[in-house]
């Protein structure tokens, strides 16, 4: 009797301990983005590994991760983070290192690291997907020739109508330079010089009076759909949603698309390091990335994922082969250094 009690107690303790050991908190961006991760990443992982995955959401930045690490109270294990934030957090030593051997290899035997697109994997971040600031237009406004180049965004004669742009220097300045004839590879070099900044603002001056500035991602497709503007710079996922769910007549100008990398990081000092690494390994499998892409049109960062993406969705991906010509990868290091300065100059230019 007594023995049975002890065994029962031990079993209870044991089960509590294992339950504790196989738990994981995954933090992402909330909204439809996180909703699309639920069936494509979280549930399959939980089913396969038996780990209970708790989810939380945040609005980007490194402040929360920093305070958890510094107060030694780490409650987040894996975070879906932008490359620029991940680089900052990595610089500050807030993230666990991820090794190439932590990743699942591709079907053809390539290692996970080699399967990644350039820049999508580093010691702190395993890439998830690539989203883009992309120029889009309302097909109803341009019945004849459709815009196809960044320069067309700045050409009010050939393509009349108002433009919508994010009220922020990143995006606007890069597009202005590309429209002015700077090759994508030279954009950040040019923008690092005062003359380059001036050149960008001068180009923006040519359409300034026709620009409607937006501040939240939902505004761009709204302005396009309402007919307030004919063309817009927008987040590609929002436009995909408007086209696929709401059947809006929007077209993309992939030339000059400005691409950003999003990935998984593991918070330094997590108590569930093993489960966290398993999660990252699972979530960065080509099939998992492809399944996320099908729901959002964010480009999977592993090359072998493309084969698993729904053929109907492929043409909407920032990483699709036919869309990458003329693409520019946003330079997080450049913006970390120049954001203070260019924000100020942008504010001055706006108010002029």
């Amino acid at each position: 009797m007594k023995k049975a009690k002890i065994i029962g107690l031990a079993a209870l303790v044991g089960s509590v301990m294992t339950a504790h050991a196989s738990e994981l908190t995954f933090v992402s961006w909330g909204g439809s983005y996180q909703a699309s991760q639920e069936p494509s990443v979280i549930k399959p992982f939980a089913a396969k590994s038996g780990v209970k995955v708790k989810v939380d959401s945040y609005n980007g930045g490194v402040a929360q991760v920093r305070s958890q690490v510094q107060t030694n109270n780490v409650t987040w294990d894996v975070v879906d983070m932008q490359l620029s934030d991940a680089m900052r957090a990595c610089d500050e030593g807030l993230l666990e290192k991820i090794a190439a051997t932590d990743l699942a290899p591709a079907k053809d035997g390539r290692s996970g690291k080699d399967d990644y697109l350039p820049g999508a994997f580093n010691e702190c971040l395993a890439g998830n997907n690539m989203w883009a600031d992309v120029i889009v237009y309302n097909k109803d406004k341009f019945k004849g020739a459709a815009p196809a180049k960044v320069a067309d965004f700045f050409d009010l004669k050939k393509f009349p109508g108002k433009r919508a742009l994010k009220k922020s220097p990143d995006g606007a300045l890069e597009w202005a330079l590309m429209a002015d004839g700077v090759a994508p590879g030279q954009v950040y070099q040019t923008l690092a010089t005062p003359a380059g900044v001036e050149r960008a603002f001068k180009k923006l001056d040519t359409i300034k009076s026709s620009i409607v500035w937006w501040e939240t991602g939902a505004q761009a497709p709204q302005l396009l759909a309402d007919g307030e503007v004919a063309m817009a710079g927008a987040y590609n996922g929002r436009i995909f949603a408007a086209i696929s769910a709401d059947k809006k007549p929007f077209g993309y100008v992939w030339d000059g698309q400005l691409r950003h990398i999003e990935g998984f990081v593991i918070v330094k000092g997590t108590k569930n390091l093993k489960a966290a690494k398993e999660f990252v390994r699972h979530a960065t499998q080509p099939e998992a990335l492809a399944s996320m892409a099908n729901a959002t049109s964010y480009g999977p960062l592993r090359q072998s994922s493309l084969a698993h993406v729904d053929p109907a969705v492929v043409k909407f991906l920032p990483t699709a082969p036919e869309n990458v010509k003329g693409a520019l990868d946003s330079d997080s290091a450049f913006w970390a250094d120049h954001a203070d300065d260019l924000n100020q100059k942008f504010a001055v230019w706006l108010a002029r």
């Binding site: 500050e92 001036e198 409607v212 250094d337 120049h338 203070d340 300065d341 504010a347 108010a351």
Partner: protein, 413 residues
């Protein structure tokens, strides 16, 4: 007997005094919570704000010895600092790494000079492995910028825990590499225009409020009470409605496919509608609408006290209606005009959300930039400098105004 009387009188007097003092203490005790409230919720935050605009503790906290030496160093000579400063800086930077001090220094310096972030982080990472005979050689071999005076003068002017740097920036000045305070280049001047714009918009709004509010207040004051109450409610209803709701209502009314434009297009006045919003016009309309009740109420309270008999006397002595109004009535309402003007002006100066919603990029007032530096760029020092300048500006205007009007009616408190 007489003595006794005097002593008695004295003791009575002192008793009385003591009783009075007790009463005073009790009175003070009663308003003690008020004082505590004022202190905690008003004076302390404002004091902290004023101080924040002058403090810049990052470098002196994170790199204490190097900061102290840099404060003594003079960039005007055009020479980089000597080896001792290089070595101390390297040691301080190395010591700051475990607590992430280096990244705080990097973030702080990047505000003054783009690129300093990378420079500091890169230097901090390579300190242990770099080779060279002197620290100067080592740092320059990590990055050639360490051989430039400009880099060190950026450090120097961030090295003191007390600074005028935020005010220099808030007035559109900057320091050149020799430390001279010079005007910002044309393309980077922002805040002087912002303050002028804030003053112009606020002044326009208060003038429009007076022009529109005066007749309304006059009408309300002249009506018998049972009618005027009804109209008063019509003034007060919008006054009680949330600012955000009223501003958004203007967006609905003024936008390019909005109510007003739709009507104008239907009437054939215009073909594509007028630009009524996201420009100065929209800001003036919405702000005037929001501030009008303040003007009407302050005018009304003064007009209620003006006896009608003067105008009647003026008329009976032969003045026409216009002359009677301007000579007998209007001068008596001046304190109300002054109070209404001052009140609407001061409220308008602090407006933020209304111009943000209905204004264009060139219609944002000072508060927008203060909020931007508090929330987005996290440059609280600059935000505090801008806020203090706004506060001092308003207090100065108020002082001048009280002096001009002799304090009649315009005292806010």
């Amino acid at each position: 007997m007489g003595d006794a009387h005097v002593t008695g009188g004295r003791s009575l007097k002192s008793k009385l005094r003591r009783a009075e003092r007790m009463e005073q203490v009790k009175a003070y005790l009663l308003i003690l919570p008020l004082f505590a409230f004022l202190l905690i919720c008003f004076l302390l935050p404002i004091g902290a704000l004023l101080v924040k605009g002058f403090t810049d503790p990052t470098l002196s906290d994170e790199l204490p010895r190097a900061a102290a030496m840099l404060r003594e160093w003079e960039p005007a000579g055009g020479e980089v600092p000597d080896e001792e400063i290089f070595a101390t800086f390297a040691k301080d930077l190395a010591a700051s790494r475990p607590t992430d001090g280096a990244s705080r220094v990097a973030k702080r310096l990047n505000i003054d000079q783009p690129g300093m972030r990378t420079l500091i982080l890169k230097t901090a990472n390579k300190l242990d492995t770099v080779e060279g005979a002197t620290w100067r050689d080592k740092l320059v071999s990590i990055d050639s910028r360490w051989g430039a005076v400009a880099t060190w003068s950026t450090l120097k002017y961030a090295a003191s825990p007390w600074t005028l740097g935020y005010y220099i920036k808030a007035l559109d000045f900057t320091r050149d590499e020799r430390g001279e305070i010079v005007q910002q280049p044309e393309g980077q001047r922002l805040y002087r225009d912002v303050f002028v714009r804030t003053a112009v918009v606020s002044l326009s709004v208060s003038v429009i409020c007076l022009l529109l509010g005066y007749p309304v207040a006059y009408f309300l004051a002249a009506l018998p009470a049972r009618y005027s109450n009804l109209f008063m409610i019509m003034v007060l209803l919008p006054f009680w409605t949330s600012i955000l709701v009223r501003t958004t209502a203007w967006v609905v009314a003024l936008q390019s496919n909005g109510v007003i434009n739709a009507l104008l297009i239907r009437l054939g006045v215009t073909e594509d509608g007028f630009a009524l919003i996201y420009n100065r016009f929209g800001v003036l309309v919405a702000m005037t609408h929001i501030l009008l009740p303040y003007a009407i109420l302050s005018l009304y309270s003064v007009m209620k006290g003006v006896p009608v008999i003067y105008v009647k006397a003026a008329r009976s002595l032969g003045a026409g209606p216009i002359r009677a109004f301007f000579q007998a009535y209007f001068p008596q309402t001046l304190p109300g005009v002054a109070a209404a003007g001052m009140l609407t002006f001061i409220l308008a100066v602090g407006y933020y959300i209304t111009p943000a919603i209905v204004g264009g990029p060139s219609d944002q007032l000072a508060s927008y930039y203060i909020a931007n530096h508090v929330n987005t760029t996290l440059n609280w020092g600059l935000a505090s400098a801008l806020a203090s300048m706004l506060l001092v500006g308003v207090l100065l205007l108020y002082a001048v105004f009280v002096r001009l009007t002799g304090g009649r009616g315009a005292k806010l408190g």
